[in-house]
């Protein structure tokens, strides 16, 4: 199939756009740069859709007997060392999840490109500085993210993992004049880089035992046969766990850094200092799911390592609850959305981790449901979370503030945004027929199959999700009458910003009906899914309870929330301060690492190392100073020294000779 072979173009266009806009764009008018960026992204999107469509529905080598195959249209040996013992390849791997990710990334990226035309056109009335730079960075990010999902091997994935980190750094720090943005970009980069260190260690361990980087070589086609080297390495133990377990756990830590799992989540809320469309693209829809994608990509290995899976499961379930609890009290809408993102990604992680792949039927469902559910939720979440963020961007653009105390009662002024936001909230809360209902239902089913406790826990978090989303919604759009600040009242934004909202809202309405079970599964075979009505009903019920509670508390201005806040003062403050995680990190880094480790090292460097060389210099210097009088310029003086020296030498020689 020709079209699948052209997948490389999907990557090439954003890369070209990055170089073109970055190098030439500065010389061009701002509008034209933006339009070129949007058009380039439109072409990429169309291409990605075509590829995904052909892959899923076309005839060809990608589908054999109803099983989706992994295709490698491009495979290029980049580096080769030690007579081909160590080979690093770059290539394109097409399989259900990468085809799905192509669609997700290109859709959201295109919407964000379009939206940014409006959002970035002015900054508090002034033309935005660095408009071209912004578009170049967006293109770079899109390129790296697309490269990440089509990686044929774990090393290529690592390269692109780092590249998305860099572009995220560039975009968070876009307003480099502002101190918080600088801090946030540094924080994001350092935290994810630290996690990537573990990822690298994991890669090294894994590839040391399997002797290859290639996914297909390690896991077999469609995850069918995991290579012998891996299974034999499972027998080796290190500190009580198998080496492969260690490797996979380290790789998961890398993914957890990118996906903002507890306790590496601290960078994500701060990353909201970047422009809002960037938050929508990177910190809600695409980059943060890189960790989920990573685990999904190595899923056939993870199912063999139940220990690693359990870690993911616990971390995911805890993060989901923790982030949801914080999201309930945040007053900055972008931060609340950020914690909601963390919580939802944790849903995906948990869902992956509760999935088992051994093909047994559990409770009428084929195993591997969790994997499918996770990918499904990834897809739907990307759409509605991008929608929510873009809505938030429109609101922020209108009222020039992130604090919801400055909003209130915007429904009258911004009806389109309000409805789009409502759709997003309904989708994330899991109300049928919106997208989130279907994917979240699958996740809950998978969790209940793992165990009743997991299921109840995740159901509770789902209820909290509904509550905090509607809390935000009511606080923005209702609560009390809007107080107009400045001369103009907020209103719906220009078409470049509303169209993406409408498109994403429509997608959020219909995305749930995509037959994901037939398309995206861990081994390419179609998965039988049924609506599990009791669980679905229960989850809708709990979502409705959450919404109802939010309605009671926040629909109209009333003293109830304040009362509750004073009643549970400690809890409320702890949640508002994000359970003091940032303070804890601050304490660890400043008090323990800086004071306890860095300071002594710095002292050692300054005193011992520098001191040694200073000492050598000083000794030479003072010795020279002491003997400088000997260089008098008087030849007679020199001769006398010479004579003394010669006589001494002669004397020593004589003594030596005599002794011998």
């Amino acid at each position: 199939m020709q079209i699948l072979d052209s997948t490389i173009l999907v990557l090439a266009i954003p890369l070209f756009m990055f170089l073109f806009l970055g190098l030439v764009g500065v010389k061009m008018p701002r509008k034209i740069t933006g339009v070129i960026g949007v058009l380039g992204m439109a072409v990429t999107t169309i291409l990605a859709y075509t590829i995904a469509f052909v892959y899923f529905f076309g005839e060809g080598p990608q589908k054999v007997d109803g099983v989706y195959q992994q295709l490698v249209p491009v495979d290029w040996t980049w580096l080769s060392f030690y007579a081909d013992k160590l080979v690093v390849r770059l290539g394109v791997l097409l399989d259900p999840i990468s085809a799905m990710m192509l669609v997700v990334i290109s859709t959201v990226s295109f919407m964000v490109h379009l939206y940014s035309l409006g959002y970035m056109s002015d900054h508090d009335g002034n033309p935005e500085k660095g408009f071209q730079r912004y578009y170049a960075d967006l293109a770079l990010f899109t390129f790296s993210m697309l490269g990440l999902v089509v990686s044929t091997n774990i090393f290529q994935m690592f390269i692109f993992f780092e590249m998305v980190g860099v572009s995220s750094y560039l975009l968070i720090g876009f307003y480099y004049g502002l101190q918080p943005a600088n801090h946030a970009s540094k924080k994001a980069f350092i935290v994810t880089r630290l996690a990537d260190l573990f990822f690298l260690i994991g890669i090294l361990i894994l590839s040391f035992y399997t002797k290859t980087f290639d996914f297909i070589n390690i896991m077999g086609k469609n995850g069918g046969e995991v290579c012998n080297a891996f299974t034999s390495a499972q027998g080796l133990t290190f500190m009580g766990c198998s080496v492969t377990g260690w490797a996979l756990t380290f790789i998961f830590i890398g993914g957890a850094g990118k996906s903002a799992m507890y306790p590496l989540h601290i960078w994500l809320p701060d990353a909201m200092e970047g422009p809002t469309p960037v938050s929508a693209l990177i910190h809600a829809a695409t980059m943060v799911v890189a960790g989920v994608f990573l685990v999904a990509r190595l899923f056939p290995l993870y199912v063999l390592e139940q220990g690693a899976m359990d870690i993911i499961c616990v971390v995911g379930a805890f993060t989901a609850f923790y982030a949801a609890a914080i999201a309930c009290t945040q007053s900055d809408i972008k931060r609340a959305l950020a914690f909601s993102t963390i919580s939802q990604i944790a849903f995906m992680m948990t869902s992956l981790a509760v999935s088992s792949a051994n093909g047994q039927l559990i409770g009428g469902h084929e195993a591997g449901l969790g994997y499918m559910a996770s990918m499904f939720h990834l897809f739907t979440h990307a759409m509605f979370k991008a929608l929510l963020f873009l809505c938030a961007g429109a609101i922020i653009h209108a009222v020039h503030s992130n604090e919801n105390s400055k909003m209130h009662g915007l429904h009258k002024y911004m009806p389109i945004t309000s409805i789009a936001f409502l759709i997003g909230c309904l989708a994330i809360a899991g109300i049928p027929p919106f997208a989130g209902f279907f994917s979240k239902d699958e996740i809950l089913v998978a969790c209940y199959e793992k165990g009743l406790g997991w299921g109840l826990w995740m159901s509770m978090v789902a209820g909290m999700t509904a509550f905090y989303m509607f809390r935000i919604y009511y606080l923005i759009f209702f609560w009390k009458k809007h107080e107009v600040h400045g001369e103009h009242a907020p209103k719906d934004q220009p078409w470049t910003m509303t169209v993406p909202l409408i498109v994403l809202a429509l997608i959020s309405c219909v995305a749930g009906f995509v037959p994901f079970g037939d398309l995206v599964t861990w081994n390419g075979q179609a998965l039988e899914t049924h609506m599990n009505w009791p669980i679905a009903g229960a989850s809708v019920g709990i979502a409705l309870v959450g919404i109802g509670l939010a309605t009671v508390m926040y629909r109209k201005e009333n003293p109830l929330p304040d009362k509750l806040a004073t009643m549970f003062k400690g809890l409320w403050t702890a949640s508002y301060r994000r359970f003091y995680m940032d303070e804890l990190y601050q304490f660890i880094t400043h008090k323990i690492i800086f004071q306890g480790i860095s300071k002594p090292i710095a002292w050692f460097d300054r005193m011992i190392i520098d001191g040694f060389f200073n000492l050598m210099g000083n000794v030479t210097n003072s010795a020279s100073f002491g003997i400088r009088k000997m260089q008098s310029g008087s030849v007679q003086g020199y001769v006398s020294y010479y004579i003394i020296g010669a006589m001494l030498l002669a004397a020593i020689t004589g003594v030596v000779i005599l002794c011998i």
Partner: protein, 97 residues
């Protein structure tokens, strides 16, 4: 036996070179040392290698060089005297940095 006068001559030369301030006297001391060396050449040639004549010729050669060198040195001293009006070595400090 001939080495003793040559040793004395050399010692006197060194002593004179170090202690005298007058440049002419220093030059004379220098010549004393050179001549002591010449004597050594001749003596060692005569007693150790009577068949060869290299030492003798080397002495002649050194005497010729010494003559030329003395002429140059005298010329320098005279020129210095013309400029500085003195020939004491520790009083000629004009060319120090």
């Amino acid at each position: 036996m001939y080495l003793i006068p040559s040793l004395i001559m050399f010692g006197c030369g060194v002593y004179g070179f170090i202690t005298r301030k007058n440049m002419i006297a220093m030059l004379i001391s220098l010549e004393l040392m050179l001549n002591a060396v010449d004597i050594n050449f001749a003596v060692f040639n005569r007693y150790l290698f009577p068949a060869g004549h290299e030492g003798m010729f080397f002495s002649l050669f050194a005497i010729a060089i010494a003559a030329a060198e003395t002429a140059v040195a005298i010329a320098i001293i005279i020129n210095v005297y013309r400029v500085a009006k003195k020939v004491d070595i520790n009083q000629i400090t004009k060319m120090k940095f």
